[in-house]
Symmetry: C2
Subunit: 501 residues, 2 copies
């Protein structure tokens, strides 16, 4: 898919490659330091680690945002590179990233970083005490600065468009709003029958003990089985699971453990390994360049959701893995495949997004999207966030939020300046279902193979269709090419209806 590199690219392109190699070296080193900070770093190292990161990130930024880089990009653009050639895609993405890096003044970026650092600390305290008031002044500053950032970046219709662009190139608020307008009633229509079906699942459906060491061995076996390469990656433990690439051939996953519930870490690993398989499947010869990089968060999330929900929460998965899991967790013999399948697919309304079931999850996202849109367009005051949240949440779920920690303080994103990020989670869900449906159409034997614990056909298909493409096509171009249509709600709803109602 990515073989047709130019035999004689322009000199400016060669200069860009050299510069980007340096930028990638600095950025990947920062990722390595951040991974260490999240996994093993002792607490007193924090202050100096921040200095190291600020230095590396700052230098990477200056090297990338240099005027000469803009000139090289412009020179390449004048060469009329084929838009879906490796070079064309690289130059297109470098242009996009260059605009994002240079339109926002350095002094503003520094100010935002300082405000974010304080806001993040304030958010921790506010959430711990469930007091929105503690976070309110910080969120007000964040929103004001993020609106200013959108103005710097520029947009045609909504300032939210400028923010989305950072996470999901090409996405626009109007498009998301229209997609969500269709999705919401469709989900509501699935929700009632799904809740009824799940009512039979007991509160504590998973009895027994699941020692940490056994979970680690089992998770590793599953991750290896779906294709995660441990010669080029590993799994460690963190409070908040993540997947990070520290360099070529170096993808690190993390998960967390609950000794009463092995599915907690297992689905964490399946999710992060989904991200990891994407990272490990990107063309290594283009490492550190757009042609070798993930195209968007919405596509990245599709890979994690696909392995977590479409593979890991399928009946066929448990038909294969139940007897194996019983070797690691003898207590699991007390449950049938049906009981486990029902348990891991239980639909039950709850306050916390990260604990939400597969049906109501996107309702949580829609609430946040609507709220963010109002914030950045000035239709909602920061002081009114808890009231708006609680009202909308009750309307959507029937549950009354009694403390902000269970409501508008639950997510870390805003404290990190991440406004415009949430919609990519739902895009990920929709893309996952759409890709999985397409894979099944192209490989009628897929279900049968998955039931035998054989994941090679599915992984190879994803490699060829999604991973190998890197950022060669824009996200929606990629979805169109691979599935025949842009992101839509259809496959996701069919999947939910079929499995959960």
């Amino acid at each position: 898919m990515m073989t047709d590199t130019m035999t004689n690219p322009p000199a400016a392109y060669q200069k860009l490659l050299r510069r980007m190699r340096e930028v990638t070296c600095l950025k990947s080193t920062s990722c390595a330091l951040e991974w260490d900070q999240d996994t093993y770093m002792p607490p007193q190292a924090l202050a100096y680690r921040a200095e190291q990161l600020a230095y590396l990130r700052g230098r990477a930024h200056r090297l990338f945002a240099a005027r000469t880089v803009g000139a090289w990009i412009a020179e390449c653009e004048q060469q009329g590179l084929a838009p879906d050639s490796v070079e064309g895609a690289n130059v297109r993405e470098w242009r996009r990233q260059f605009e994002q890096a240079t339109k926002v003044p350095a002094a503003f970026v520094e100010k935002l970083e300082r405000v974010k650092a304080l806001a993040h600390e304030a958010w921790r305290a506010a959430r711990a005490q469930s007091k929105f008031e503690l976070f309110r002044p910080h969120l007000a500053k964040i929103v004001a600065l993020i609106r200013q950032k959108a103005d710097y970046l520029g947009y045609e219709v909504s300032p939210y468009d400028a923010l989305l662009e950072e996470y999901e190139p090409g996405a626009r608020a109007a498009g998301i709003a229209s997609l969500f307008a269709d999705l919401r009633p469709a989900i509501v229509s699935v929700l009632q029958p799904a809740l009824q079906k799940s009512a039979a699942v007991p509160d504590h459906w998973l009895p027994g003990a699941y020692p940490l060491a056994a979970q680690q061995l089992f998770n590793r076996r599953v991750a290896e089985a779906i294709g995660f390469d441990f010669a080029a990656g590993r799994i460690d433990t963190t409070t908040h699971p993540f997947c990070a690439t520290l360099g070529a051939g170096d993808c690190r996953l993390t998960t967390r453990y609950n000794e009463n519930d092995f599915t907690f870490s297992l689905f964490g690993v399946l999710h992060e390994a989904g991200h990891g398989l994407y990272e490990q499947g990107l063309p290594p010869e283009h490492f550190g360049r757009p042609a070798g990089a993930a195209v968007s968060l919405g596509i990245h999330e599709s890979q994690s959701r696909l392995w977590e929900n479409h593979v890991g929460r399928s009946r066929s998965f448990w038909e294969h893995w139940h007897p194996i899991a019983c070797e690691y967790f003898p207590d699991l013999q007390a449950l049938s495949v049906e009981q486990i399948h029902a348990g891991v697919n239980r639909v039950r309304l709850s306050f916390i997004r990260v604990e939400a079931d597969q049906v109501s999850y996107d309702l949580h996202i829609m609430l946040r999207f609507a709220l963010e849109l109002k914030l950045v367009t000035g239709q909602l005051a920061v002081a009114d966030v808890p009231g708006y949240w609680n009202e909308q949440f009750e309307q959507m779920s029937g549950l009354k939020v009694t403390k902000d920690a269970d409501g508008c303080l639950q997510d870390v994103h805003w404290s990190l300046g991440g406004i415009g990020y949430f919609p990519t989670y739902t895009l990920g869900n929709l893309n996952a279902a759409q890709l999985m449906q397409r894979a099944r159409q192209e490989h009628p034997s897929l279900n049968e193979e998955l039931g035998r614990g054989q994941y090679q056909t599915l992984l190879t298909w994803l490699r060829q269709k999604v991973h190998q493409a890197g950022s060669r096509y824009r996200p929606q171009e990629l979805m169109q090419r691979v599935t025949g249509e842009p992101t839509s709600i259809r496959a996701h709803l069919e999947h939910l209806r079929e499995k959960l109602t």
Copy 2:
């Protein structure tokens, strides 16, 4: 000790501080990447990690070795800073390091790096197959280049002086040779009675099983007791134990485990924690500058040997720790304190330096020093290394080397270009004994405190006398100030005689 910083240092000094902050950021980041490479990095990450390190190390070198840095140093030197002020010490050491960094041409450094990389690979293979011939051509190149390096660096008497200077500022080959000429017969005179005394210790003196997890808990408890701060450090597992500082407040130790012998990891931890206590005791306000950095390898090694051999291998140590160790290792109840003390102090001639006892250890070093000296002065051909080694080793120990893996191929140092390094191990042994003897003189209650497992007085003394000084004084100046004499063989021999004969 280090409080008198100038109120108004020259502008050039301020510029040096700024530049060194950047250099330290790059170097400490390299250390973090190297730590990760040695502990957790997956194998396929190796090639790109090398690229990251080459970039960071290269940039640190260019920033440090810049002509403007030389001009700033010269400007500071003209100000007549007090030699033992913080500024004076910093400028003196920066000058020394600047000369080392600039006298050797960059092209030569790159060539040496390439030769070392290949030599290191060849050495691994040669040692595995015990075939010196495989390593010979590489060692020949290393020796030729190291001699050339000594010429670039310059020296007054012996090219070996230029090499020593990198590891032990101020040390000279003639001084080491004279020290060793006294040390050798003295050690030989201790060796026979020590061997006789140890003859009563059975081959397998430590019965029982020592599960890894229990060792980790026990080691941590001991390291905490002697004062290693786990809020600013940690212990991980590697094949070759080491201590590395990854940043301010971030000191990482490693050890290795043998489930049949807990003393293997314990003495590894005591040794590395000795290094770590030094690193954690350096003045944090001078982090990344000579005033906040260890002064030499011979002083560094004195700290590790002191905690490993003078504390950890003392009778009073085991009087305190034996009952506690039995909580972790029930099998240890079968042994008395006397048996453990005799076991961990057993003197027995062997081929391998890192397994050598406290008496014969320095004989291993003297052999290497004599051999290195002959190599760099052209008195010994590389082809004759095994012959020379085996002859000298048999003369020293009575043991016949039957394979090079047990002889001249056992150490990694030469393959890494580390000629001139070995003497610092013996300096460390001598300095450790001398410092410990002085501490006992100044604190007559020290032995009693150590017997109660109280290490605060000893650590505070080392902090005040050695750690806080950073590189303010040259190594021998420091020994003179703290112990009243330069490094001598007396205290070490008294210690060996008293404990082992």
